[in-house]
């Protein structure tokens, strides 16, 4: 009897916890909704009283209607498709090369000696400064855009991965050696998994920079994409289009960032640390 009651209690505690988690997810929407409501109210008041030119500060409802219109014209789908292709290809290449480079640099001291200072020098140069040069070198097609995105993705991924490799616990490597592991096995079973969290940190940092690179590259010498909508809107004073594109860029970035987090959670399910798990609420 006592046992049953205890178990029931355990179950109810568990379901309560699940409820709490659900509630929390639901709660995340409230600040966002409030933001748009406030924006709507302020801009509507501005339309009535014309404190600043209302054309420059449209309410979200008008932006939304304009978005629907653009969607029916096909412009939005086309732009999202071209932007997504660029970011996916560029980002994937950047991550791939960044990880490979870090592994090589971490493995061969000579490579570290010769490459690290150079990378540290050219890494921080902003994408915006490089794009015109890339256009001169590679023309105005897809190539310079993808190279620019890959380039900006590369550095944070590389440096974070490299930091991860350098900080692998030496007792992990020692124990593996004492169990008979060879270099290749240590690399695959110890160094890579213990560096994975750093790789993801690098990816998250890179993603933001890659989006900037995407938008910049679409604002210079492009005929499609979300960034292109923005310059086109500026040239023809289509302010509503500009807002639509800006919001879509925000949404697309958030979705990619979320996707990365989901993958990270899947791959790093062994990780239980962090502030979230430090104290039960």
């Amino acid at each position: 009897m006592k046992n049953m009651a205890a178990r029931q209690e355990a179950v109810s505690v568990y379901t309560k916890k699940v409820d709490k988690v659900r509630n929390k997810k639901y709660l995340h929407a409230i600040p966002i909704i409030s933001f748009f409501v406030l924006w709507e109210v302020i801009t509507r008041l501005n339309i009535n009283f014309s404190i600043v030119n209302p054309v420059f500060f449209p309410p979200p409802s008008l932006i939304f209607l304009n978005g629907v219109e653009l969607f029916h014209s096909g412009l939005i789908t086309d732009s999202i498709v071209s932007s997504t292709i660029r970011i996916v290809i560029g980002f994937a290449i950047g991550v791939f090369l960044g990880v490979i480079a870090a592994l090589l640099i971490g493995r061969v001291e000579k490579i570290e000696f010769w490459f690290m200072p150079v990378f540290n020098m050219i890494g921080p140069i902003p994408a915006l400064a490089l794009l015109p040069l890339f256009i001169i070198w590679f023309g105005i097609g897809e190539i310079p855009k993808i190279i620019l995105i890959a380039w900006t993705t590369f550095f944070p991924v590389m440096t974070n991965t490299f930091d991860g490799i350098k900080s692998v616990h030496s007792s992990y490597i020692r124990s593996a050696l004492s169990l008979g592991a060879n270099d290749r096995q240590i690399f695959k079973k110890i160094i890579i998994p213990s560096t994975l969290p750093n790789i993801f940190t690098g990816c998250q940092i890179s993603l933001g920079l890659a989006f900037s690179a995407l938008v910049v590259s679409e604002m210079m010498g492009a005929k499609s994409g979300l960034g292109y909508i923005i310059v086109d809107a500026r040239n023809y004073m289509k302010i509503l289009n500009m807002y639509v594109a800006i919001i879509l860029i925000g949404i697309e970035y958030s979705l990619f960032s979320l996707l990365l987090k989901v993958i990270e959670k899947k791959l790093l399910k062994w990780r239980t640390g962090g502030f979230e798990n430090a104290v039960e609420k």
Partner: protein, 240 residues
Amino acid sequence: MALIVENVKKFYNDHLVLKGINLTVQPHEFICVLGSSGGGKSTLLNLIAGFIKPDEGVIKVNGSFVTKPSKERGVVFQDHALYPWFTVLENIAFGPIVQGMPKKKALEKALRYIELIGLSDYANHYPEQLSGGMKQRVGIARALAGEPEILLMDEPFGALDMFTRENMRTELIRIWKEVKPTIIFITHDLAEAVYLADRVIVMKNGMIATELEIHLPRPRNYRDPAFSILMENLEEHFVS
């Protein structure tokens, strides 16, 4: 299977940490190296493990020189050094797998070692989810599953609470009797050394101060008068 340490010296930044160590360990022997902190115990263990190299002297196992880590010398670390991305079972199967055993057989073997340490219910847990004592038992099982001839343990119970520590000592003796590896166990705890060892090596200032064979039958009892006499014996070497 005999381990021989011959006149081993080790410097760290011009400071002579080991001043000529001579030691012979017989197969299946349980050795405790006892000494206060900074006396060079870990340095000696790392040398035997092959993690570092002596500046003078040699270390031999079965007649061949120790130059690098090898699966014949398993190590249990004070911080357990379990791989957090592997489950308990995968951690224990690591040795057999890297030594070339097919994965399925390795996992079966790991299951036997999990049974040996009494953690069958935790096979699929991650190390983070275990208590300190459990982690240390997994560390021992992982080292044993690699089938070393010599097991090197550097203060493995040092971070555990008193009760867990006593349980672990009993467990270790049970496991040792079943698997019979040679064990070199480092500790700064007199009672622990007398409880565990066939022979206690006392280290002081980078030298072996004395050796003491313990002939008490196992399981040993801390309250046994003979036990106390041995402890007093050792204690004298410490103060002097």
